[in-house]
Amino acid sequence: MIIANILNETEKLWKHNRTKGFLLLAILLPVISAFLLLHNNLGLGSNLPMLMLRLFTFSLLPLLLFMSASESFSGEVASNTLKLGLVRPITRAKVFASKVAAITIFLAILLGVLMITTIILGWLVPGGNFASGLLDIITAYVAAFIPIMAIGFVSVLIAQFFNKSSGALVTMILIYATAKLAPFIFPVISVWSIFSYTNWYVLWIGNGASFAKLANSFILMLSYCIMTYSAGVILFEKKQL
């Protein structure tokens, strides 16, 4: 049953033009950047994957998650379609799990498309010499997936409080912006806030950070995932439609 609903949720996400738009951005933005680099004679080809990863993890991927989560939960409440899945022979916990899974799958696909596009473009632009860096790039993209996924879980939790996707989306963006700015004033927040870990992947490339440090950050992100998921399930189970 859960597989059936993951397919359903993935199909629904895919049928939204917004999702396709994001995929297109993941291809177009690197292409445009590559042209800009070429035009300005900057041989930054080998930097393209990292440059784009920074840009996407900072802004576009969280935005994609915010939109998907608010549509998948709050939006479906508003359009009276959430009930359709809930009256089928599937428990609410499984409906919740499959919605989260569909969002996560899209994040993975988007990161994958971005990585492949930037690597190919990097080769085409002069200066793209990946002899040593390819493994680093793949590692970075895989590592980047984890904090962004945790942010997705947080946005799923936030979506439970709203019955309209616009309200949920605006709130998520405001929270994100606040969380990004807060460490400028209170640096200690950057240790605790999941939103400060979007460029976590830098700890994995090259000689990287120590194992203890990596494990520590990983557990912190994991704890965010567990907590927001549990709280999200409770709220979703309690929903009266």
């Binding site: 059936a4 359903n8 049928k15 009256v87 089928r88 022979p89 439609l241």
Partner: protein, 251 residues
């Protein structure tokens, strides 16, 4: 006779004071049960509790022997339903909407979607997106979605809303055929008693969140008065009774 649906002591109270109180009834397999009552009597709330959209404060719902709280999946495997306030995905075609639902029933043959679209008369429009559909067409699609899984119990909330005359007749024939030929059980709510009396075998009357009378259509209608008149008279006596009940409550 096997019991298709058993509702025991369902109570749900909203902060507004409305809700349903201590509802008990059961439906035998193959019956068509009509739920009638004025707007706001609690019909939709009751149906939503039965299919698990709302959690009751007290009471239990059993569908073909499966309790909906603990065995939700098994219980709902037998159920197809159409809830007034549930819409289809308007960015998908009629066919795709049903395709999503069909995934929950892996044993259904691939041809089932076309079959059910044919049954409700939507076959010519199956590739069209739902956001272009008229109210009646959307209603037909909801009915198709409820019948899709060949359920043993079909729960329909105000099914004829938005349907034209032809649609209503068509709907009635479909229901009666399914009940007679396949032994499918129906629970249909409607505020239009005349319409219900044409198809239902038994009728339950709700008012102010309570089920005030349950009986066969023939038992309820006494010679000389129409069912309409009977219902109105029942609502009146019940209102007085309800009043007493309230006074007792305050004491």
């Amino acid at each position: 006779m096997e019991t298709a649906l058993e509702v025991k002591g369902i109570t749900k109270r909203y902060k507004s004071g409305r809700g349903v109180r201590d509802i008990r009834f059961d439906i035998a397999k193959g019956d068509i049960f009509g739920l009638n009552g004025p707007n706001g009597a609690g019909k939709t709330t009751l149906l939503k509790i039965i299919i698990g959209l709302i959690r009751p404060d007290h009471g239990s719902v059993t569908i073909f022997g499966n309790n909906t709280t603990d065995q939700f999946e098994q219980a709902m495997k037998q159920v197809g339903c159409m809830i007034e306030t549930a819409d289809s995905y308007d960015y998908l075609s009629a066919y795709d909407n049903l395709k999503l639902s069909a995934r929950f029933y892996p044993e259904l043959p691939r041809t089932r979607i076309d079959e059910v679209l044919e049954q409700v008369g939507l076959a010519p429009y199956k590739k069209e997106k739902v956001n272009g559909f008229s109210l009646g067409m959307k209603q037909r699609l909801r009915l198709a979605s409820a019948l899709l899984s060949k359920p043993k119990l079909v729960i329909l909330d105000e099914p004829t809303n938005g349907l034209d005359i032809e649609g209503i007749v068509n709907f009635r024939n479909t229901i009666q055929q399914l009940a007679c030929e396949h032994g499918i059980t129906f629970l249909i709510s409607s505020h239009m008693i005349n319409e219900l009396s044409l198809i239902a075998g038994r009728i339950g009357i709700m008012q102010n969140g309570q089920l005030i009378r349950v009986g066969g259509v023939n038992e309820l209608v006494k010679p000389g008065i129409t069912l309409e008149q009977y219902i109105v008279s029942q609502l009146h006596t019940s209102k007085e009774g309800d009043h007493d009940d309230h006074r007792q409550y305050i004491k």
